[in-house]
């Protein structure tokens, strides 16, 4: 290992997020590197202090005074809300009336005088003079500047995605602009087109970017689209056109499904207006509207969404990256392709965010990313690390083949429980217990082979300070297993 260890890697090591090998490698490097040894010591001391920061209690405050102020503020607002609207002053009307009458009288006199002047001396108003005083032909207003065009970038793609009828080789470098047509086969695609604004096109769908600029966005869809859009500025329009219906929004997350069986609009939050030629219906938060083909919009009813439908909408939230400026994002991100060794698909998550079923590709920021894949039981297990260099240099990770479920998990779990040295564990946590911290835990991942040898023992989650976690891990490493079935298990141990 020749490069210096990044300081946050030490934090990962102290938090038990590194494997033994990785930990050993950086420790070995630090032995011969003064800079990294110093960095390790400092990060370690900082990590140790987190527990005491977490345990800080509230200082004493003048609670009754605070309560009184809260009550005063809230009740004052309530009184203001419930107070009757003040009646207009009895004298306000006559005063205004007199003022209006006075102004009208003055205006009337002025009009009469002007008329008399005009009618009494028509010859004094030569045509040429009139021509001179007539305003010059008003210059035509400058043409309004064309609204700035928008561009979208693909953030996630799975399966077949076609752009203008072809399957682009570099989908993540394409900028989607007005006029583009995106079609998905069995896959799906997420496109970001602004800060906190993105859409996800579901499988078997087609989307045309009819208009895509700063003034208006018009998306014509066949199939399913999930949209999350930041609040629009006044004058900005956002329309989804689904057949003869249009869905207009201001700032919201919603889904439009336009298929042969009809059109369905479901709003997760915010409010959308659904229109046809004759009517407009508003769909609010957690409500949906189903429109059968050939029926008028007015006949349809808006109904609350079920929990499952809301959950589906939440899961379909388009993937967005926080950095938005199309050039900056294109420069500072790269696609990460996650492949599977067989035709089978597996749920994956990257850095803790569930992305759906691999194979897929996702736009990520430069740096190291953890990829986890779900096993047959739906539990996510670490599949590997990927270093993404950035600036368009993509990375690829092939998920390891899923290991068949081990039969001896329950037996190994019992052995682990029976072999715990409670006295030693208690001695590890004694110092933090004295400091008032209890109810702590460690979650470990353990692999035992058929001979009873421990393949690995990782602390994957804990709320203990790093030194205590180390002590607990050492204690757990002393547990001995008999020969039996090989097993890999995760276990949470409350301390």
């Amino acid at each position: 290992m020749s490069r210096h260890v990044a300081p946050q890697t030490w934090a990962d090591a102290f938090a038990g997020r590194l494997s033994d090998d990785e930990r050993a490698a950086i420790e070995q490097h630090a032995e011969g590197c003064e800079k990294c040894a110093r960095s390790r010591a400092r990060v370690g001391r900082a990590s140790d202090s987190f527990a005491s920061l977490r345990a800080q209690t509230a200082p004493e405050l003048p609670w009754d005074a605070v309560r009184a102020r809260v009550h005063w503020t809230v009740s004052k607002e309530r009184r203001a809300r419930t107070a009757p609207v003040p009646r207009r002053s009895r004298f306000a009307w006559p005063r205004r009336t007199w003022l209006a009458l006075g102004l009208a009288a003055v205006g009337g006199i002025g009009v009469v005088i002007a008329t008399q002047r005009t009618t009494s001396s028509p010859a004094k108003e030569p045509t040429i003079a009139l021509a001179r005083v007539a305003p010059a032909e008003a210059p035509s207003p400058p043409p309004a500047p064309a609204p700035a065009p928008l561009a979208g970038l693909v953030n996630r793609a799975a399966g077949e995605v076609r752009l203008d009828g072809v399957r682009p080789a570099e989908l993540f470098t394409q900028r989607l602009v007005a006029g583009n047509v995106i079609a998905t086969g069995d896959g799906a695609v997420d496109v970001q087109f602004g800060e906190a604004s993105a859409f996800a096109l579901g499988p078997g769908s087609t989307l045309e970017l009819r208009r895509f600029d700063a003034e208006a966005i018009e998306l014509a869809v066949t199939g399913t689209i999930d949209v999350e859009v930041a609040a629009r500025r006044p004058g900005q329009r956002f329309l989804v056109i689904a057949g003869e219906h249009t869905v207009e929004v201001r700032g919201t997350q919603f889904r439009v499904e336009h298929v042969a069986e009809g059109t369905r609009v479901a709003c997760r939050h915010g409010r959308v207006a659904v229109r046809d030629r004759a009517a407009e219906v508003e769909v609010g938060t957690a409500r949906g509207l189903r429109i059968a083909p050939g029926t008028a919009l007015t006949e349809e009813r808006v109904a609350p969404l079920t929990v499952d439908e809301l959950d589906a909408l939440a899961r379909a939230t388009p993937l967005q990256l926080p950095l938005w400026d199309v050039d900056a994002l294109a420069r500072n991100s790269a696609p990460l392709s996650i492949a599977t060794p067989t035709a089978a698909t597996r749920e994956v998550r990257v850095d803790g965010v569930e992305l759906g079923r691999a194979p897929l590709a996702v736009r990520v920021m430069p740096g190291r990313h953890t990829v986890e894949a779900a096993d047959h039981a739906g539990r996510f297990r670490r599949a590997g690390w990927v270093d993404v260099a950035g600036a368009g240099a993509g990375a690829r990770l092939e998920l390891p083949a899923e290991r068949p479920p081990t039969a001896g998990i329950a037996a190994r779990r019992r052995e682990l429980r029976a072999g715990l040295d409670h006295a030693r564990l208690a001695s590890c946590t004694r110092s933090i217990a004295k400091a008032g911290l209890s109810g702590t835990y460690v979650q470990i991942e353990l692999a035992v082979d058929e001979h009873g040898a421990v393949g690995f023992l990782n602390v994957i989650d804990t709320d203990l300070p790093s030194s205590t976690a180390r002590c607990v891990r050492e204690s757990l490493a002393q547990v001995r297993f008999r020969a039996g079935a090989a097993a890999t298990l995760r276990e949470r141990i409350d301390l």
């Binding site: 946050q8 140790d48 202090s49 800080q56 509230a58 200082p59 990256l321 008032g436 911290l437």
Partner: protein
């Protein structure tokens, strides 16, 4: 097995979901006793959350007031998709974020928290240590907060919630009203910046006692 010690939160007992729903329903009817009950249950928790995020007790009572005013105003909109305590924590985070932003624009004079910071950590009183060790612990905590101070407000809050509070991405996303992907990216940069500050020392070391303003 060690005895479990509850952390002092100021609430008399944890509310079950049904009791919590009942309390919220009564608060929505502007029941003064319900407001009092909610305040008494959560006041210390709110104050502690704000104090831990900000490390500053200047105007802490004003901030606690702000949190409860926002909470009482917004109870009608509380949909119950999270525990009341989590929802209050979310308000705390937003209020703290606002305070951090204001403080960055208008740095204040040394606060009471800074003066108190020189006092002995109360958690250490029960376990006497050498003065050197106590001082070192205090310096470590100061270094952490000094590094946090140098992060952008949003990064600071995300890093605090992840590294110190130990919350996961989904929790943090709810608390900061963002999505997990945004939080993940923000956290990535925040961690890198924070640990670089922690590891690379000079700017974070406190000025020597009675010495010059800082190190070269």
């Amino acid at each position: 097995m060690l005895p479990r010690v509850r952390r002092e939160t100021g609430s008399t007992a944890a509310l079950g979901p049904a009791d919590e729903a009942d309390l919220i329903a009564r608060c929505r009817t502007d029941d003064r006793t319900a407001h009092d009950e909610l305040y008494h249950r959560y006041r210390r928790q709110v104050a502690a959350n704000l104090y831990r995020v900000l490390n500053d007790r200047t105007d802490l009572d004003d901030l606690v007031q702000e949190v409860f005013v926002i909470a009482f105003r917004g109870l009608d909109k509380f949909r119950g998709d999270a525990r009341l305590s989590t929802w209050l924590y979310r308000i705390c985070v937003n209020v703290a974020l606002g305070r951090i932003r204001t403080r960055r624009r208008r740095p204040s004079a040394i606060g009471v928290a800074d003066l108190d910071a020189t006092a002995v950590d109360p958690s250490l009183v029960e376990r006497p240590e050498t003065p050197e060790r106590t001082l070192q612990r205090q310096q470590d905590r100061d270094r952490v907060y000094r590094a946090l101070e140098q992060l952008a407000p949003k990064k600071r809050v995300v890093l605090y919630l992840h590294e110190i509070e130990g919350r996961d991405l989904k929790d943090i996303a709810y608390l900061v009203d963002s999505n997990p992907v945004t939080v993940r990216t923000r956290l990535f940069y925040a961690r890198r910046e924070f640990y670089r500050l922690i590891a690379g020392d000079a700017a974070l070391d406190p000025p020597p006692m009675g010495g010059e303003e800082g190190e070269a």
